[in-house]
C-alpha cells in the first residue's frame, strides 16, 4: 500500500513539475512582481491591487516594448501572512528578470518582506502601506505612493476641528492600518481640544449593537472610523438606524462604491458622512475616470480601494525602468539603477496624484482630500464633491 502510494505520489509530483517547469528565461524579458493578498479575508482589496497593476502594465508597457523588452506581470499571493510574504519575496529576488515589486496591502507583511528586497537591492513601490515604519527605516529600495497614518489621522482631525466638532468617538478595525490612523487622529483631536469620548477597536464585521450603546449615550458630534468600508459602512448604517444624527468621518479605506450600497440613504442623513483620501476624484485627476471605465470593461467589476494605487505603482515602476534602460543605452537595467531611477522621478503624473519621492521614499507632497458622500446611488459615487483639499509633506 505504502509503495503504491509512494509511486503515485512521485508521479503526481512529476506531472506537476511538467506544468511548472521553468520558462526559458530570455534576457529581454522584464518582469514586475505584485504581492498582495489574493486569498483570505483581505482578498477583495488584494486582488484589485493586482488587477490595477495588470491594467497599468497592459496600457503602459509600450515604450519598453519599443526598446525590445517584453514586460510581464508576476503576481504573488502573500495571503496577508508575513510567512508567505517573505517566502514570496525570496522567490522574487531570486528571479533576475524581476526588476520591481508593486506590493503589499498589509504593512505587517510589507515590513518583513521589504527586508528581503532591501538586501537584494530590488525596488519596491507600495500602493497601500501607510505605516510610518515602512519608509522610516530609510531603505533606498522602498517607496510608497500613499500618505502615512500619522498624516491621514491628522488630516481627519484638522478637518473635524474646522467643522467645529467638540466631541468625538473613535473606532478602528484592529488592523495595523485602521488602528494606526485612529491613534493619530485621537492624538491630534486631543491637541485640538476635542473631547474624545471613547476609543474602541473591534474585529466585528456585522453586529455593532454593543459598540453603539456607549456611542449613543455619549452622543458625540462626530464618529470617526479608522479602517475599511466593509465595517465602517455597516457601523454607520446601524448607528443612524439607532437615531444617531451626528457626523461620520472615515479614511481612504472608505472609498468604495460598496460603502454606499451598504449605507444607502443613512450616510446622507443627519450631519452627513465624510472621508479623507489620498486618491482624488475624477474632476481633479482626469485619468481616474478613464481608469474606472477601463477597469470595469476588463474585469466586469468596479475597482476596490487601492486598485488605482496599484495602477500608479505599476506606472511608476515602468517609467523608472524605462528611464534606467535609456540611461544605460537601451540595455536591461540593473536593479540598483531601477531603485535609483524611482527616486529620481520628478512629478510623475499618475491617476491618484503627482509623485516625487523624498530621500526615504515618501511622496514629497501628498495631496489629501476630504470628500462628502452626497448621493445614495452607487453609480454616482465618483461625483461626490471634495469639501477640503490639503497639501501636506510627510513628517521628517
Amino acid at each position: 500500500m505504502t509503495k503504491r502510494f509512494w509511486i503515485v505520489f512521485s508521479l503526481l509530483i512529476a506531472v506537476g513539475m511538467v506544468f511548472i517547469g521553468p520558462a526559458a528565461a530570455a534576457d529581454q524579458i522584464i518582469k514586475i512582481a505584485t504581492q498582495s493578498p489574493l486569498s483570505g479575508d483581505n482578498s477583495a482589496v488584494g486582488v484589485d491591487i493586482k488587477r490595477g497593476a495588470e491594467l497599468a502594465l497592459e496600457q503602459m508597457s509600450a515604450p519598453l516594448a519599443k526598446m525590445g523588452f517584453k514586460v510581464e506581470l508576476a503576481p504573488f499571493d502573500d495571503q496577508a501572512n508575513p510567512d508567505a510574504g517573505v517566502a514570496n519575496a525570496k522567490r522574487i529576488v531570486s528571479d533576475p528578470a524581476i526588476l520591481a515589486v508593486v506590493g503589499h496591502y498589509n504593512s505587517g507583511v510589507q515590513i518583513p518582506s521589504s527586508e528581503v528586497y532591501h538586501t537584494s537591492g530590488l525596488a519596491n513601490v507600495s500602493p497601500a502601506n501607510t505605516n510610518p515604519k515602512v519608509t522610516t527605516r530609510g531603505y533606498l529600495e522602498v517607496n510608497r505612493i500613499v500618505g502615512r497614518d500619522d498624516v491621514q489621522g491628522v488630516v481627519g482631525a484638522d478637518f473635524a476641528a474646522g467643522k467645529k466638532v467638540k466631541s468625538v468617538f473613535v473606532v478602528h478595525d484592529k488592523t495595523a492600518y485602521g488602528q494606526g490612523i485612529a491613534e493619530f487622529f485621537k492624538k491630534r483631536a486631543e491637541e485640538k481640544a476635542m473631547k474624545v469620548l471613547g476609543f474602541e477597536g473591534t474585529e466585528e464585521k456585522a453586529n455593532f449593537d454593543s459598540l453603539l450603546s456607549p456611542i449613543l449615550a455619549g452622543n458625540p458630534d462626530l464618529v470617526y472610523f479608522g479602517g475599511m468600508y466593509g465595517q465602517a459602512a455597516v457601523l454607520f448604517k446601524q448607528a443612524r438606524e439607532k437615531g444617531y444624527m451626528g457626523m461620520f468621518l472615515s479614511d481612504d479605506g472608505f472609498d468604495s462604491t460598496d460603502a454606499v450600497k451598504i449605507g444607502g440613504q443613512t450616510l446622507l442623513d443627519g450631519a452627513g458622512t465624510f472621508y479623507s483620501t489620498v486618491s482624488g476624484p475624477a474632476t481633479i485627476y482626469p485619468g481616474t475616470a478613464k481608469f474606472i471605465t477601463d477597469f470595469k470593461a476588463k474585469y466586469n467589476a468596479s475597482p476596490q480601494p487601492f486598485a488605482a494605487q496599484g495602477y500608479d505603482s505599476m506606472g511608476i515602476s515602468l517609467k523608472a525602468i524605462e528611464a534606467a534602460a535609456k540611461a544605460g543605452g537601451n540595455k536591461l537595467p540593473t536593479r540598483e539603477a531601477v531603485s535609483k531611477a524611482i527616486r529620481a522621478l520628478q512629478d510623475y503624473a499618475g491617476i491618484t496624484g503627482k509623485f516625487t519621492f523624498n530621500s526615504i521614499g515618501d511622496p514629497t507632497v501628498a495631496k489629501y482630500f476630504v470628500i462628502q458622500v452626497t448621493s445614495p446611488d452607487p453609480a454616482k459615487w465618483n461625483d461626490n464633491p471634495v469639501v477640503e483639499t490639503l497639501d501636506i509633506a510627510p513628517p521628517k
Partner: protein, 449 residues
Amino acid sequence: MIPHFFKDIITRLEQGIYPHIIILAHMVLGTALVYTSPRSNLAFLVLITSFFTLYYFKTDRRFKLIVGAVLTLFIFPVVGVRNIFYLEVIFQISVFAALALGLNIVVGFAGLLDLGYVAFYAVGAYLWAFFGSQQFYVLPFAPGTQPSNLPFLLPGDAFYLFMFIAILIAAITGILLGTPVLRLRGDYLAIVTLGFGEVIRVLANNLDKPLNFTNGPQGITPIQRPTMPLAAVDGFNALFGGLVGHDVSPADMYNVMFYLLALGVIIVIVFVTRRLDDSKIGRAWTAIREDETAAIAMGVPLVRMKLAAFAVGASFAGVMGVLLAGSRTFISPESFSFMQSIGVLSMVILGGSGSIPGVILGAATVTILNLQVLQGLSLYLSQLRQSDAVIPIINFAWANLSNQLDPAKYQRLLFGLILILMMIFRPEGLIPSQRRKRELAHDEDDNGK
C-alpha cells in the same frame, strides 16, 4: 502479469547494492539539476525528494546518516545560498515540520484534537519579540506613537537562552490551558482548543492597552538576532565560495544560520519524540487514544498523561516561535490565525498521524504545495494569459481564461480537500505509523479468517 513484473523489479531494486546506487543517483541528479538551473522548481523538487528515496530504501544506518548529513549540511546550504528562495522553503519546511511533530504528539499519539495549536507558537514568538526588542520601553506608549531611539532590553545573544526559556514557558502555557479542559471528550476539546487559539490571537491583537505589551496589530519590530560571527561568514566563503560563485554577505549567512538552527531543533525533536513513543508515557498515550475507559481501568493516570502530551507538544511550538521571531525580525498577530492551526493539522493528517516520517513528509508536501506548486501554477497561468498561446484541440485562447482562476488564491480549498479526502480514503496517512500498520495488518488477518 504486468503488476507482477513491476513487483519483481521493485523487489530486485530493494536488495543488495541497488538502494545505494538509487539514493546516490537521485541525490546527484537533483544537485546537478539545481546547480545548472538554479531557478527551476522541478530541479529543486528532485533534490528535495531525494530525502524520501533516502528514507524509503533500506540500507545500513551509517550510509543513510552520511548521505543525510551531506544533503543537509553541504548541499542545501550551498544550493540555498545560490538561490535564497530554496533556503526559505527548506526553512519553512523545517519550521512546519517541527510544529507538525509537536501537534503529532497531541493528535497522533494521545488522540486529542487540538485546533488552536498555533497559540503555543505565538507564545514562543511573542516571548522573544518582547524581550528581544525595544518593546519593554514602549510599554507606556500607544502603538505607533513611541519615540524612535529607544534602547534594546537584552543583547541579541540572549536569543539562545530564550530558545530554552520558550520550551519552559510554552510547556507551562500548555499545562495551564490544558488543566481545565482535558477532562472533556474529544470533540468538545477540539472546539475549546479552537477557542483558546482565538483567545491568544485576540489577546496579541489587543494587549496594546492599558499597557502596550504586544503593540497590537502593528506588530513588534525590529526584533534582534544573535550576532553573526564574522568568522562564520569568512569560513563559509572560504569553504564554499568557489561553489556558490559569489561572496556571501552576513545577511545571506543569517538564512543559513536559521536553517541550521531549525534543523538542529528538528533533530532534537525527532529524537525526543521517538524516545517518548517507545517509553511508558508513549504507551500510556496510545492507550488513551485507543480507549480512554480501558486506559483508566489499566491504571493510566489520565489527566497527567494528557497534560504531558499538551506540554511536550506546546514546547516544540514554543521553540519554533522564538526561531521565527528571530529570523523574521517582525512579529504580528496575523501569523497566528486559525488558518495556520488547520494548516498544521492538515500536515499531520496528510502524512499520517502518529508517524514521525509521515508527519515530516506531510509538512514538506503542504509547504511545497503552498509555496511552490500553487504559486508556481498561478505564475504559469498568468504567463499563459499574457502570451498568445492557445489550448490545442478545443481551441481556447489562454488569454481568455478568467482572472479568477488563480490557484494560489484557493489555499483553504486545498486544506479542505486534503482533510476530507484523507479522512475518507486513507485516514492512516501517507506513511502510517508502525503501530497503526501492525494494527491494520492484524485487521486484515481477522477479515481473512
